[in-house]
Amino acid sequence: MTAHVARSALALFAVLALTSCGREVPLRIGPLGLVMGLSQMEVRVWTDAACPLGVQAAADPATLNRVAVDRFYAGTTGASSVGAVPAGAHAVSVLARGPDCAVILYGCTPNVDFATAAAVNVTWAMVPPGLACEAGLTCDSGACTSAPGADAATTGDAG
């Protein structure tokens, strides 16, 4: 009888734990009509609720200490989720590059509270040409890498 009560309490605790963590929040990016010739997409969840000051800051490796989750996708669709996000309010940015690594599209949604958000919607826009891989990085098949031939798959997603 005691074991039964203990098992019930454990089950209750497990249900509470499961319902309070691991909730998946959909990431919706648009408009779809702007997608043309994209070869890489970078999704970043920032530690702050505020978006980086401009696309250049969003693409700058020097700002990576402000990134909580950094996810690369080859192409414009992801086969897997971006990943676990720490509690609190964050900014979510999406940056897409062309085959020459030039940034074509960029969007950022600030102040996303993952405790309550039903979904994250990021609206991106065309970026004036000129911004490619940052200093120290080279373009390899549309992905900015730290060394020629580096395998983007180690940090990205094939999907």
Partner: protein
């Protein structure tokens, strides 16, 4: 008609047989009275003594037999034996009428016995716990008081678990008896029944009896029921519930994390 006679034959035979049985037992009292009336006091004493030792007899019969025995002994001048018989009769029937056959001296003796008997009625005392754990040995002790002067009662104590009457154990002794139930015995029993009978020293039917019961704590088998009466159970329930509530509060107070899903392009 012949058929009806055949059908009634067993009934008639049964009635005859029961009458014969009644005459054989009841009438030992009637036969004793007849013998006493006829002056055959030896025969009357023999018959009445047999009645007092017959375990099938009920208390009123025994009380009546002792009364008659007292009268017979008083008539014979055996005052000590008469006194003992009257004492037994009073023990069983404190309100017994004074037999008209007694002379003034014997009436005084009976009145004195009646007063004494009122102060010391026939009684059984049982020393048993109201409840006991399955893990504890239980000792049951019973004693009987109120026997006529110079006599004692034989006490028989019998105990058995409520789930198995065939497992009964008993003990007897002069004036008192004890039974010990070892720790761990009858683990499934939720109650232990105790019956105590007191008979005359020479045997015979129970002159007085008493029944008690001992509730078992921690009795297993069959689930539900007794465990809810255990303090430790509610302590465990309290601790578990408090723990669960605390965990729930802590979990709900924690910052709520989430997983950002896979990118999905929308129009």
């Amino acid at each position: 008609m012949q058929r009806y006679r055949l059908a009634l034959a067993p009934l008639v035979m049964a009635l005859l047989w029961s009458s014969a049985v009644e005459a054989q037992g009841g009438d030992a009292l009637a036969q004793a009275e007849a013998a006493a009336d006829a002056g055959d006091f030896e025969r009357a004493t023999e018959l009445l003594t047999a009645v007092t030792r017959d375990p099938r007899r009920l208390s009123p019969d025994i009380a009546r037999a002792y009364t008659l025995l007292g009268v017979v002994q008083a008539t014979l001048g055996a005052d000590a034996a008469a006194s003992t018989a009257f004492e037994w009769a009073l023990a069983l029937d404190p309100g017994m009428p004074t037999p008209p056959e007694l002379g003034p001296t014997q009436r005084d003796m009976l009145d004195q016995l009646r007063r004494t008997r009122r102060a010391h009625p026939l009684a059984i005392t049982v020393d048993a716990p109201a409840d006991a754990s399955v893990d504890d040995a239980v000792v049951l002790h019973a004693s009987a008081d109120g026997a006529p002067e110079g006599r004692s009662l034989r006490v028989e104590i019998t105990t058995w678990p409520d789930d198995d009457e065939s497992a009964a154990i008993s003990a007897n002794g002069a004036g008192s008896a004890s039974v010990a139930i070892p720790a761990g015995a009858w683990p499934a029993a939720r109650e232990i029944h105790v019956r105590v009978d007191a008979t005359a020293e020479s045997g015979g039917p129970a002159l007085v009896h008493r029944e008690e019961s001992v509730r078992r704590r921690g009795a297993g088998g069959g689930g539900g029921g007794s465990v809810f009466e255990e303090a430790w159970f509610w302590v465990v329930v309290g601790v578990v519930v408090a723990g669960a509530v605390t965990a729930a509060v802590v979990v709900t107070q924690l910052p709520q994390g989430a997983t950002l899903g896979r990118p999905e392009l929308i129009p």
